[in-house]
Symmetry: C2
DNA sequence: TCAATACCTCAAGAGTTATTGAAATATGAA
DNA sequence: TTCATATTTCAATAACTCTTGAGGTATTGA
């Protein structure tokens, strides 16, 4: 991931509705979720939802696939991982203090 | 880190000049750097620099300390780490695919 | 073909962000 | 006090973001 990919990604995540969408799509797993269901989940009107899904898609954080009348959205976990990597390596020079946050939480081994 | 801290932090990082500032301040280490030197480094006029440093400070990603005539800025590594943690845990539910990016790079391991 | 469903696009308006240049504030030294 | 240095604040402006509501497109089934 380079800066010109990271900037739209950070920008996409800097918004409450889009954060809700990402959370929901990550939890929806590899099957993803149709736009309508995402809209119900986050409580957004169709045009508002479409606007935010488009921002996320342009940022590369979600993918869209048409299946008949519905459009299935999925979180792009590789991209999200690459963004974490950008934050750790590019922004923070791999600094150990920043890296500590990535260790597994104690109760989850 | 919660959502209302993460949103301004993502927003702060979604800008080229501020990304340059963060990189430089992380590399400057615990002594930080005076505003003027940051401005030289990133090629920003004083008012423009001040604007961006303020955004970063409000977002909690840098701290400012006055020392005589100069103001020393430092990257807040704890906050940056907490933001990585938010991205991994809150946004991505600690998903292993996303986590893989946090492993030490092979040549540095 | 017509109607229904699922979703997107468009235009308008309010609010926010980034840049510029001028002016203000704070500190230190002559 | 006067001057220089370091930095912030202010006002104007252009560009961008988000929301709303109306209308459009794609697909399916009767």
């Amino acid at each position: 991931m380079n800066e010109s990919q990271a900037i739209p990604a950070f920008s996409a995540l800097a918004q409450e509705t889009r954060l809700q969408i990402i959370r929901f799509l990550v939890r929806s797993g590899p099957n993803g979720s149709p736009a309508g269901k995402v809209g119900e989940e986050v409580g957004a009107s169709s045009s508002r939802l479409s606007f935010h899904l488009n921002v996320l898609e342009q940022a590369g954080l979600v993918t869209a696939t048409r299946v008949s009348r519905t459009i299935i959205y999925r979180a792009d976990l590789q991209r999200l991982g690459a963004l974490v990597g950008f934050l750790l390596e590019d922004c923070c020079s791999g600094h150990p203090t920043v890296r500590k946050c990535c260790e597994m939480p104690p109760s989850k081994g």
